[in-house]
Subunit: 245 residues, 2 copies
DNA sequence: TCATCACATTGATGAAGATCAATAGAGCTG
DNA sequence: CAGCTCTATTGATCTTCATCAATGTGATGA
């Protein structure tokens, strides 16, 4: 089995995180892979966990590297992206608190992960995690369901990338993000945007300039208000009309 | 538990498919969800299976409908697609022999599936299949791994849709398809194209005309040859250079 | 064999969004 | 608070691909 491999220079490392207090007090447990597990399974998972923290814009792991760990984000947010040799970048997702990184347990990372803000995560050795999944069917089932859900989101994103206009892309992005924040902090009209316009562009297959123009247009049309670090969604009905499935 | 719900008007229905001969002789077993299962698990799966056949361009199931069954394609090929209210279409994938439909076991179908040719499949009642997965950890693990693989393919497709030019899209599509055919029939330079140019366009986020122009260009550049019902890949190196990750 | 029909190809034009360029803020640091 | 840097916004122009339109081709069937 592989050793636990710490990602580059985490700010803090809590070797005693296997104390059951960690999981028991975890704010994102209800949202995470750990939800719907029995006490004994949770304890086994807890034993593998190591709590790590990251600075803003730190790399958690890189595309192509051997994959040693899987992670559960506990605070902050991160971008998942793939790079082409010539530098073009496609962001394949953003992970928020409660999100799990490591659904496709391959030998090598299929994408890179970088923090958007300071962030923290539960880290698990990949091999041990995989073995635990085999030993605990509830965990495996949970992982399978999460993978199915992710797959469904990825297919939605394909529609956005392949068949929507720039304005529709931005509208769908804002709605999708708000929906995810709602699960976490219950906010209804606020959508914090921890990522840059460039990040949004690389997620939606647009340039920074086009993202900026579309945001301005939505604001001019009184559908959103641009506020520091995010937007407020003023007119959900019209936003949904733009983004409708 | 839900009844087995046959898709609309399958051409043939073999109620005796639970005879173990079916699975034992299945040509695509090595490629399918059924691979890497123990004899007892395979037998349990076999009991649920029903072999069904479809005509060309028949709907197997439709987006938004309640999902009653999951399928394993045994011959022919199908398109998986999502429709927007105004008729725009995004094909989220093509399934070839051995491919499994039903990785995200949600209540309603997230997309429609139609055959591209005459095709046949193993049909399983969704609820019973889900229960079997819970009872047979090997099956569940297999499903989880397949879901992870699909997720990874979906992320590759996001890069193609979001950050590649028309020519690169077509090159990547042809290479990807050839790779999948190679697993099935071992062909190395032939890539049968059971789908129309329109289908390819709706998969790549292009119009029919652009797909046609790019195919012509690749043929003019002696990278491919267009043959009836498919293409031959003449210059894999240059094709890979266009499609490189 | 020819008519029909669906699909593919090719050409001409147009529009959405990319690119190039300049300016404006916002956050840091000395 | 001035100066610096990084990001966002806005404007002008250009390119790629979409759209509109015509023609070609291969399969089917009378």
């Amino acid at each position: 089995m592989l050793d636990v491999q710490a990602p580059d220079a985490p700010l803090t490392l809590c070797p005693n995180s296997n104390a059951s207090s960690e999981c028991a007090h975890c704010k994102v447990r209800a949202l995470s892979v750990c939800s719907a597990l029995e006490a004994e399974e949770l304890a086994a998972l807890d034993k593998l966990a190591r709590h790590v923290s990251f600075e803003k814009h730190q790399t958690i792991f890189a595309q192509g590297e051997a994959s040693h760990s899987v992670f559960n984000i506990t605070s902050g947010s991160v971008r998942l992206f793939k790079l082409l040799p010539d530098g073009r970048r496609q962001i394949v997702g953003f992970a928020l608190p409660g999100d799990f990184l490591g659904l496709s347990l391959s030998e090598r990372n299929a994408f890179s992960v970088e923090t958007l803000s300071i962030a923290s995560a539960c880290q698990f050795p990949r091999a041990a995690f995989s073995e635990l999944a085999d030993a605990k069917p509830h965990l495996l089932r949970r992982l399978y369901d999460m993978a199915g859900h992710e797959l469904s989101l990825a297919q939605d994103q394909m529609v956005i990338l392949g068949r929507r206009t720039a304005e529709e892309k931005v509208a769908a992005f804002l709605l999708g993000l708000r929906k995810r924040w709602a699960r976490i902090d219950g906010s209804t009209v606020r959508a914090p945007l921890p990522m840059s316009r460039q990040d949004i562009g690389d997620f939606l297959g647009l340039t920074v300039e086009t993202v900026s123009r579309m945001m301005t247009k939505l604001a001019r049309d009184k559908i959103i208000v641009i506020v520091p670090d995010g937007v407020r969604l003023l007119d959900l009905a019209r936003l949904e009309a733009l983004a409708e499935t």
